[in-house]
């Protein structure tokens, strides 16, 4: 599909970073406020959808290929299940939270009513992995559907 007029493109350029920052904020604070991997990923994918509608699918598909999105999605999924397997090695049970209480990254102790972003253990790591996968997956769906309605001259 073709892009829209220059006014729409300028406003989309202006609002896209704000949507990105808001989506990443929702992903990163998933263990404190409502949100998490899927919700933040859906917000960022909507921002990318805004760019797709403003600039046209031909312009976007020259710059972002479905091949790379598939690679990003696999990496996100592997990171998620890698952290889950580390639960067996370090914690004793599958999916166990082996980082909480120690002093490493994300290792603070969650207090009742006053927790900060440094607590939570493996939850923020899993939130980032799921967020990456959701961004890549949802945008790949939107991009492939936009391209599918384009090729009318192919037989199948």
């Amino acid at each position: 599909m073709k892009g829209m007029s220059i006014i729409v493109k300028t406003i989309a350029n202006f609002t896209f970073p704000f949507i990105l920052i808001y989506g990443l904020y929702v992903i990163a604070h998933g263990h404190l406020t409502p949100g998490g991997g899927f919700q933040g990923g859906a917000v960022v994918a909507s921002g990318l959808g805004l760019m797709l509608v403003a600039y046209g699918s031909e312009w976007i598909s020259k710059r972002i290929k479905e091949h790379d999105l598939s690679l990003l999605e696999s990496l996100g999924a592997l990171a998620f299940i890698g952290v889950a397997f580390c639960g067996i090695i370090f914690g004793g049970v599958f999916f166990s939270n082996f980082l909480v209480g120690t002093g490493n990254l994300f290792g603070g102790i969650p207090l009742n009513g006053a927790a900060d972003i440094n607590s939570g253990g493996t939850l923020p790591l899993m939130n980032f992995a799921v967020g990456m996968k959701v961004i890549a997956g949802l945008f790949a769906i939107i991009l492939v559907m936009a391209l599918a309605t384009l090729k009318k001259e192919d037989a199948i």
Partner: protein
């Protein structure tokens, strides 16, 4: 060895996690090399099969095994169960063995069957995801977890049914399958929410302990049985099954049989374990409902199979008829267990236990027989590109091994000795005769009609004069013959030693179904 001990302790989690890990690694490996990916998939399924056999041998000898996800602390805190719990008892291990054998054979079969197609990296990813979903459905002890794995399985199998996107019939079959499947799953979620709202628990053992048979519980039971039977292909909700089985690739029909049987497992789990303490109240007689559904399924399946001319569609109607035998066997046992008359117990009517054993043994026999027949149909399609039995003929000269495998499958599905179908069907005939002779007569008639239908196919497709168009067809590739050989060997082994299988594998499963105190043991004793 300490490593082996650790692996056996974590076996329920690893059985789900290793196919998931393989599914996420497959797109990366297929960018490197194609043959490496095929070998990788077969290895992953082989490792999972080994773990499943180890877990099953432990469960069959010493009772249910539980596994708590997420922490080492106790799962029961202040009288509520707070984490996801996997509970593997005899019936779960039995269904897990069926699923992993069929998935392993399907991955070997796909090497030869789909060698010249494109888009195969997504095919293998979806196959591994579907295996993980099926195994999760049968191993879990938590109702909402069952719903999530059910949806994973149905999404993955829809994409696999519509694999040949250049044929519009396959896409239409996939669409029909997902609409029916989603409505069924949403009804299951609704019934689950009804139970959660009353008792504040999602764990099957905790619910079974605290359930009383209120009006909302009756609605939830009816919704569960209807939705799970709709997903399992029981008449009158079987409309999607012939389309989905016949238009999918043959290796996917194989795994789809295991997926529909996992839904039948869901019916048994809900009726016997979840409602097990209240099933003997005299309000509904669920046993007779299951028996009537089984009879109708058998009759409709056989009658519709007689008029088909498409090879795989005929086999799928035969699969529908075989589902009726399972419900007939287990329903006969349930009429004795659910009887409120204290004179009629399991001890005084021994035919009920035989009926349940026959019904459960028939699950694995049906999966193997129908799987072998689908694989033969796939081999014929690969060689001749033709599916209508009116246009085929005289193939026995060129495809010798395929003909032998078809004869084995034919004998097994009609219940003739020395194949495994004979052992399970004999148990069902004997026990249903003592409940009511008419049931047994209808079952025997259906078997005879199935034999007649499949002999007709055999004569039409494999015997007969040579057709000049099919003069140069070659035998099926080696990997497909290997897959068919594995399943045929298991069929003959089960047929020659049925007693060994029944005492070691089927009886613990039947015991686990009837005595649901074993399932609640960890809750009452403390984890």
């Amino acid at each position: 060895m300490n490593g082996l001990e650790t692996i056996m302790n974590h076996a329920p989690a690893l059985i789900i996690a290793i196919p998931l890990l393989g599914a996420f690694l497959t797109p990366l490996i297929s960018r490197v090399n194609e043959k490496l990916r095929n070998v990788f998939v077969i290895c992953i399924l082989g490792i999972t099969a080994l773990l499943m056999f180890v877990l099953a041998s432990e469960v069959f000898t010493s009772g249910p095994v539980t596994y708590v996800f997420g922490s080492n602390l106790q799962a029961v805190q202040q009288n509520t169960v707070i984490r996801i719990l996997f509970e593997v008892d005899g019936l779960s291990a039995f269904m897990g063995i069926i699923s992993i054998i069929l998935a392993f054979v399907a991955s070997i079969y796909s090497w030869g069957f789909l060698e010249k197609e494109t888009g195969l990296d997504k095919y293998y990813t979806l196959l591994l995801l579907m295996t993980a979903g099926m195994l999760g459905m049968v191993l879990t002890g938590d109702l909402f977890n069952f719903f999530v794995f059910l949806e994973i399985t149905s999404i993955a199998s829809t994409a696999l049914i519509a694999f040949w996107t250049n044929k519009e019939k396959a896409i239409e079959a996939g669409f029909k399958y997902i609409v029916v499947s989603t409505i069924g799953a949403l009804f299951i979620l609704f019934a689950l929410a009804l139970l959660y709202g009353q008792y504040d628990a999602l764990n099957i053992a905790k619910l079974a302990n605290s359930i009383t048979f209120t009006f909302l519980d009756k609605i939830a039971l009816i919704l569960f049985i209807t939705a799970l039977a709709m997903k399992g292909g029981i008449v009158p909700m079987h409309m999607w099954l012939p389309d989905a089985y016949s238009r999918a690739p043959a290796s996917i029909s194989l795994v789809l049989v295991a997926a529909t049987q996992a839904s039948i497992y869901g019916v048994f789990r809900v009726v016997f374990t979840l409602y097990g303490n209240v099933i003997s109240l005299p309000q509904i007689s669920i046993g007779w409902i299951l028996v009537i559904l089984g009879l109708i399924t058998m009759l409709v399946g056989v009658i519709m199979a007689m008029i088909q001319t498409d090879f795989k569609r005929l086999i799928s109607y035969g699969a529908v008829a075989e589902l009726g035998y399972m419900f007939l066997g287990v329903g006969t046992g349930l009429t004795v267990i659910a009887n409120s008359n204290p004179q009629i117990t399991l001890i005084s009517q021994p035919f009920a236990f035989e009926a349940i054993k026959g019904g459960i043994f028939h699950i694995i026999n049906d999966a193997l027989d129908v799987g072998l027949l689908f694989m033969v149909a796939g081999a014929v399609y690969l060689a001749t590109k033709e599916t209508s039995i009116n246009k085929l003929g005289g193939l026995a000269r060129n495809m010798k091994y395929t003909t032998i495998f078809f004869i084995i499958g034919l004998l097994a599905i009609s219940g003739l000795p020395p194949m495994n179908g004979f052992a399970s069907k004999l148990l069902i005939y004997e026990s249903t005769f003592q409940l009511n002779p008419i049931l047994s007569i209808i079952a025997i008639l259906s078997s005879i009609m199935l034999l007649a239908i499949f002999v007709k196919i055999f004569q039409s497709v494999f015997l007969g004069p040579k057709i000049p168009k099919f003069d140069k067809v070659k035998e099926a590739p080696k990997s497909m013959l290997l897959a068919m050989g594995i399943v045929a060997a298991i069929i003959i082994f089960f047929g020659l030693f049925p007693d060994l299988i029944i005492t070691n594998i089927v009886e613990p499963a039947a015991n686990a179904l009837i005595h649901n105190e074993q399932y609640l043991q960890w809750l009452i004793g403390g984890v």
